[in-house]
């Protein structure tokens, strides 16, 4: 199965800009379907980005983060060709992880 995470990490002038797009429904538990049944909450709780074994960014998310969440941040200390690992876990225990190379 294709990864749920799409990542683009670009290094420029010592700063790496990382953009990630995760495919996930992010159901809040407040919404009802057409039959009036509540769609159970299903959202990513934590997403970490690590570089050389060190966490460079940790996102703690609640159900108010949009469907198919997008995230962008910047960090120092990485070089072109380095690998970054992005992982997430949701409230049902589902998780995914991917590794990207910094361009």
């Amino acid at each position: 199965m294709a990864s749920s995470i799409r990542v683009r990490a670009v290094e420029s002038g010592g700063v790496t800009s990382l953009k990630a797009l995760v495919r996930h429904p992010m159901d809040s538990g407040f919404v009802k379907d057409s039959a009036g049944n509540v769609i159970p909450a299903n959202f990513i709780k934590a997403l970490t980005v690590s570089h050389k074994g060190k966490d460079v960014f940790v996102a703690h998310w609640g159900p108010a983060v949009s469907k198919d969440p997008f995230l962008e941040f910047r960090f120092k200390g990485a070089q072109k060709g380095d690998e970054v690992t992005i992982s997430w876990i949701d409230n049902t225990g589902e998780s995914d992880s991917t590794t990207a190379t910094i361009a």
Binding site: V56, A64, L71, F73, K76
Partner: protein
């Protein structure tokens, strides 16, 4: 009382982490992927289930935030679709360790918060859902103190209905 409970909880977490590591190292070879799974057990359920901005900041950071003009928020003033509102926060405040995004009029104010380790720039961009026209508050922890900035968004179609 809260503080002591929190300490106890943290200690327990530490213990669980060590035990988890010892256990994990044994089966690491079988599940390399699982080793990278983030730990969501410290997810602050109460902070994510608190309505109101000030109450949520107090619950999450155990302090009050003061207004700061050194926090720059980039978000639309009118959002056509409340289900996807892009919000960016950047700050010139020093030694930032955490950034949080709160939506005042949502059922629960806290949308997301981020750990900013040393070496990571105090900038984040994220997309949030908003139920109705609301203030969006960015909270930045700098030098151990909380600062906040507020911007209003007019939402024409709510993102939490159905």
């Amino acid at each position: 009382m809260t503080d002591q409970r929190r300490r106890g909880f943290l200690k327990g977490m530490l213990g669980a982490g060590v035990a988890g590591f010892a256990l994990g190292s044994g089966i690491m070879s079988l599940r390399v992927q699982a080793a990278a799974t983030p730990d969501a057990s410290d997810w602050p359920k109460k902070a994510f289930n608190t309505p109101g901005v000030d109450e949520t900041i107090a619950e999450l950071y155990e302090m009050e935030a003061t207004e700061s003009d050194q926090i720059t928020m980039d978000l639309p003033t009118i959002a056509q679709n409340g289900a996807v509102v892009p919000v960016s926060v950047e700050t010139t405040l020093p030694n930032v360790t955490s950034i949080a995004l709160l939506v005042d009029r949502n059922p629960n104010a806290l949308a997301a918060y981020f750990d900013i380790p040393q070496g990571t720039l105090p900038f984040v961009s994220n997309r949030l859902k908003m139920a109705e026209t609301t203030d969006v508050v960015a909270v930045v922890i700098s030098d151990g103190k909380a600062y906040k900035a507020t911007q209003n968004v007019k939402v024409t179609v709510g993102g939490c209905g159905g």
